[in-house]
């Protein structure tokens, strides 16, 4: 059994594995921290955590090139961190401090770090799918080799923009990867109760002439491998992919959600038996990674997040002068002369 797994997984080397673990673990700790800060009333507004869904962000980001572009939702902390954005910048933005990625002007739902290829997080369901298509059009048009990846939830497959984006991307064979994180719920409503097909993304792939791809979204290796195939397809000019990742959201939908809609035991089941971090930690050990190495990663991630938390806490709130900056390209907001 162990043997078989070794064989099955020997395409990924230890260095990559540790990278994948580091990325997942960083997301886990940072998201938990965000939750704690919310309880301390230091995170204002809303926030949507990816606890339990870390493997998807980590797997894709690890397979990306530096010049690749990510488009995220309001549930985008994970994807932003996975591309290497500063933890201070992310936590600072959640705390709406001057050190935040957007100096508090965007907030938790709109994390953006273009220096890392994170082309924004969008809070209106579906809108960022066509934008990712546009980035892919630019890559094709200008002869660039980057690929656009757009992350979205199961619930998003029922909105019009999903359909338009998929068709458009296929018609022009654009280098864009559509990643559906199926965590079983839209906000509080089970996805199967409001969707015509069982697999909301994969069962619609054929409507765009695409392959139906369903993967275990809680297995970072499987995600990484699938991502690699999709990126190489896109970079070879063979067009888009639509990938449905099965996963589960361990946190509430947003900050104040008690999760009353979950059937008894469901959350526990996923936490105990299908947590991506726990699973990956076991796999590392199975593959001979030393406990010390793992401990080292975990310690350094914790330190990073602790230090970032302190730095963000000490950052001032944004100065009032920036209220009216960057509305227009000239830096200001004047709509009249």
């Amino acid at each position: 059994m162990a043997k078989k797994k070794t064989l099955k997984n020997n395409d990924i080397d230890e260095k990559k594995r540790l990278e994948l673990y580091n990325s997942q673990y960083l997301i886990r700790v940072a998201e938990q921290r965000a939750y704690d800060l919310f309880l301390e009333n230091l995170v204002k507004g809303t926030s949507h955590l990816s606890l339990g869904q870390e493997a998807i962000a980590a797997g894709f980001a690890t397979a990306m090139q530096e010049n690749d572009k990510s488009f995220c939702t309001y549930r985008g902390h994970a994807h932003t961190l996975a591309r290497g954005a500063s933890v201070v910048g992310v936590l600072g933005e959640l705390m709406q401090r001057d050190c935040g990625l957007m100096r508090g002007k965007g907030g938790s739902m709109h994390l953006t770090d273009t220096s890392k290829g994170v082309m924004g997080s969008y809070a209106i369901i579906g809108a960022h799918l066509p934008m990712a298509v546009g980035s892919a059009w630019r890559a094709q048009y200008m002869g660039h080799d980057d690929v656009a990846t757009v992350f979205f939830g199961d619930g998003t497959t029922n909105i019009g923009a999903f359909h338009e984006a998929l068709n458009y991307a296929v018609v022009y064979k654009l280098p864009v990867i559509f990643v559906c994180e199926n965590n079983n719920y839209m906000e509080y409503t089970p996805i199967e109760s409001i969707t015509a097909v069982k697999n909301p993304a994969a069962d619609r792939a054929s409507a765009y002439g695409l392959d139906s791809i369903i993967i275990d979204g809680n297995d970072a290796d499987e995600v990484y491998r699938t991502a690699q195939v999709a990126y190489s397809k896109a970079r070879s000019g063979d067009g888009p992919s639509l990938i449905e990742c099965k996963t589960y959201r361990q946190s509430g939908h947003s900050r104040a959600d008690p999760g009353a809609y979950r059937p008894d035991g469901e959350l526990d089941h996923w936490k105990k038996n299908n947590d991506p971090i726990t699973r990956y930690r076991s796999r590392l050990i199975e593959f001979g990674v030393k406990q010390k190495t793992i401990d080292g990663i975990e310690a350094s991630v914790k330190k990073l997040v602790d230090e970032a938390t302190e730095e963000a806490k000490n950052s001032p709130v944004p100065p009032e002068e920036i209220l009216t900056t960057n509305v227009y390209a000239n830096g200001g907001w004047a709509w009249r002369n």
Partner: protein
């Protein structure tokens, strides 16, 4: 009289109408089993069941289209668009369909439906979940536009909206959901198109809407206390039909007009009211009509920034003082 919160008044208004009229049904995202993301529709699912209180997919165009098709053919649906910002994804149904079908068909088609939506800022949600877009709706001929400021008005105007034969966009203010107020016991139905003088005064008129109403009243009280300036506050309550009589009477009496708008400046409803007053009551004005608005910028997320964006009691107070002095 019962003490209800603004959010409880929403559920109470819907329940009253659903009990009265079998053809009223309610659809929206997460509105049924979960009682809505703002908990404004808690209890309706238990009371009326899955046939009449329905969780939908994230398909705003289908939601408004379904409400329209049902309204055309005999129902009186209530549809929720969770945040008013999301009306942009189904704007065609508001701007081109429900508003125009009666006219285009020369009266053959009707659309008695209500679109409820959470409007306004103050929750630190950032630019895509905090907008006040009542002016977008006011700009569309063929619909009615309501935005209550108290629990009693929520219930009474919601009931009136459900009973109205025209499509109504009903803006609930997110930052008012928690406020409490007296609501008449028993059946309560108000009248669309009626503004209210909520604070009488003689030196100037403030016209305000939704969250801006309590702020305007506070500012007016402070102007009285600090400077003896006696400001009348009119709560418009419904932008369409617009109760110009009440507004005009007030302006004729006071000679000065201020509007307090949460929508961003350009083409806000305050501009419309000012332009009517300036056309019709120019010679009654004793000085400039002045608009106090959210500046023409997207809304920032940070609390300190959001607080200086939306008109505050202080800003209303200072602006009026500056102008009247």
């Amino acid at each position: 009289m019962a003490q209800l919160t603004y959010r409880e008044a929403v559920a109470a208004g819907i329940a009253q109408e659903m009990e009265r009229d079998e053809t009223v049904a309610f659809i929206g995202e997460d509105v049924a089993r979960a009682g809505g993301v703002f908990k404004a529709t808690v209890g309706l699912f238990d009371k009326f069941g899955p046939k009449r209180v329905i969780d939908t997919p994230i398909s705003e165009q289908a939601i408004l289209g379904a409400a329209m098709g049902a309204a055309m053919t005999g129902m009186r649906p209530i549809a929720e668009i969770m945040f008013s910002d999301f009306l942009a994804v189904c704007w065609d149904f508001v701007a081109n369909e429900m508003s125009k079908s009666r006219y285009m068909s020369d009266g053959q088609l009707k659309c008695p439906l209500v679109v409820r939506t959470g409007n306004g800022g103050g929750s630190r949600f950032g630019a895509q979940h905090s907008q006040s877009i009542e002016n977008w709706a006011m700009a569309i001929p063929g619909i009615k536009v309501v935005a209550p400021s108290t629990p009693a008005d929520v219930k009474g105007l919601l009931a009136a909206s459900v009973r109205d034969e025209d499509p109504v966009i009903f803006f609930e203010h997110k930052s008012l959901y928690a406020i409490k107020g007296e609501v008449p016991e028993g059946e309560h139905v108000d009248t669309l198109g009626t503004a209210k003088v909520v604070r009488p005064g003689k030196d100037a008129t403030i016209v305000a809407l939704a969250l801006m109403v309590p702020r305007a009243v506070q500012a007016a009280d402070k102007l009285m206390t600090d400077h003896g300036i006696d400001v009348e506050v009119v709560d418009i309550r419904t932008l369409v039909p617009l109760d110009m009589k009440t507004i005009s009477n007030s302006v004729i009496k006071t000679g000065r007009l201020f509007t307090v708008e949460e929508n961003p400046r350009l083409c806000g409803w305050g501009a419309e009211i000012v332009s009517i007053v300036v056309d019709e009551l120019f010679w009654d004005l004793d000085g400039p009509a002045v608009r106090i608005t959210t500046p023409h910028i997207p809304l920032p997320a940070a609390d300190n920034l959001e607080d200086i964006t939306i008109p505050s009691v202080d800003r209303i107070y200072s602006k009026i003082l500056e102008v009247l002095r």
